[in-house]
Amino acid sequence: MQLIFEKSRDGRRAIALDELDVPKADFPSELQRETPAALPEVSEFDVVRHFTELSNRNFGLDSHFYPLGSCTMKYNPKIAEVTAAMPGFSSLHPHLITSESTWNQCQGALEVIHTLEEVLGEISGMQEVSLQPIAGAHGELAGTLLIAAYHRDKGNHKTKIVVPDSAHGTNPASASIAGYEVVEVPSDKDGTIHLDEFRKVMDDDVAGIMLTCPNTHGLFESDIMEIAEVAHKHDALLYYDGANLNAIMGECRPGDLGFDVMHFNLHKTFATPHGMGGPGSGPVGVGERLVPFLPGPRVMKNGESFHLETPEKSIGRMAPFFGNFGMAVRALTYIQHLGNKGLKEVSEKAVLNANYIHARLKGAYKSAFNGRFMHECIFDASPQAQKGANAFDIAKSLLDYGFHAPTVYFPLTVPESIMIEPTETESKETIDAFCDAMLEIAEQIEKDAASLKNNPVSTPVGRLDEVKAAKELNCSM
């Protein structure tokens, strides 16, 4: 398929303006670019055909089951697109918050922000929430900066953040940017954090511990109360990575578990669309200790109206305004429709679906851990790999069945990891079809593992040469 640039023809054009109705002003030549930007010259229909064809080369969630572990690919409700597009939201200029005199012109938007922050706080048991962080990793950075601000305010000089070896890469990456040294704690063979090893690394030099619960192995960290106790004894703060929140809504709350700070992923738990990799949204929630340090300005309610205030010890601005507001509108839409019972049902059914998949597949695939999986289950395809077809091959084969592959090779703690997260929005029929496909693939591996090596065969392209891409670095035309 051609690139849009390859379809370019001199003189073609899609959009033109009306004739200039004011005198054409001179533009100083010394400030001007030499030649016009070599953008495509195509008709509108060319553009429409081109991107329509491109879209047909994509598996989207709306057309394909997408059981990516750790990504929570749940259905994106269309009503959320409608509310986000309401002109009062989508055409609103953010600088209305800049001058106090114009706060009265964006009260509806401020109410959306305040309401969402409040309900996220209630869902998580956190005291206050800020919508500023623009993605989950950005929320993690905000969280670690909050931890740092807390310690600096107390006069503590702590240099370390503890993460489990199963942690998502953004955890240590964020902690590094916040200036911390990262100390890894191994998981025990059950897949939860190794309590003794954890105790060993805990000292007064640890500023915080970043955990997720259930963890990236899909297992609930049952020792969490003890971990919290040890942490707080050393005045270390406990950070909750909200990526797996879909497993526990209505069952327990990070705030009640002893977490001091967390981030949410609105594009996971709260159904905002993934958009090929973004935009996401990563609000940060805090317990009482960290409230004074929240990013500002914050939306405050006074009677029926909303105004802005910056906390006295605020870490400053993580975003120019309130983060990805458009995603906040969608998330609030989602939460309002589900309500208290619906949110609890989300987690129940997410956990049910993942356990059902596990039950159906555990005969043919080796379970990575023996504990109770929650919203995702993990298999270790090492036995299959030994027969000649590994997790990679299994993933590619699933594409030919019309399923997006689960997450493979994450977490790094499981060798041939296949992590499956169906979410609660999939029907039993879809899940059964997926399991049938996985079982057929397992059988095929027994019969003739080598036959998987050419998969996928039904997609527009087959396996691509990644080494060539890295060496040639052809990243633009």
Binding site: Y409, E466, V467, A470, K471
Partner: protein, 128 residues
């Protein structure tokens, strides 16, 4: 299995002693673990450091690894061929795929390195 005349580190670097100078590279085991190597970032000549300091980076499609100074010394020559042909590290890790050469070495650091047998045993342990 691994060249007898070399010394090895736990980070999978090898050292060849040539009189007053040493040549450093990464082992076949390391190269295999990384997969097809797509890029090597070599140190600048003149870089001086101690055992364990960051020296180079080696990248493949699926991983990036740091290469450390196996012994204290100063880099006086780098293998510029790796710029165009990083695959030399996979093809000939102990020979044409060398990374850099050190002078003013801290010879005593060599004592803490493994010989070929010890390294082979070490690798065996890693691999399961």
């Amino acid at each position: 299995m691994f060249p007898e005349n070399l010394k090895y580190t736990v980070e999978h670097e090898w050292v060849a002693v040539n009189g007053d100078t040493c040549t450093v590279g990464i082992t076949a085991f390391a190269a295999e673990q990384l997969g097809d190597i797509t890029y090597v970032e070599l140190p600048e000549t003149g870089l001086a450091g101690s055992q364990g300091d960051d020296a180079a980076t080696v990248e493949s499609v699926k991983a990036a690894s740091d290469v450390y100074l196996p012994i204290g010394g100063t880099v006086f020559e780098i293998n510029e061929a790796l710029e165009e042909k990083p695959e030399l590290v996979n093809e000939s890790p102990f020979d044409d795929g060398w990374f850099f050469k050190l002078e003013n070495v801290t010879s005593s650091d060599l004592d803490s390195l493994m010989d070929a047998d010890a390294y082979a045993a070490f690798v065996k342990e890693q691999d399961h």
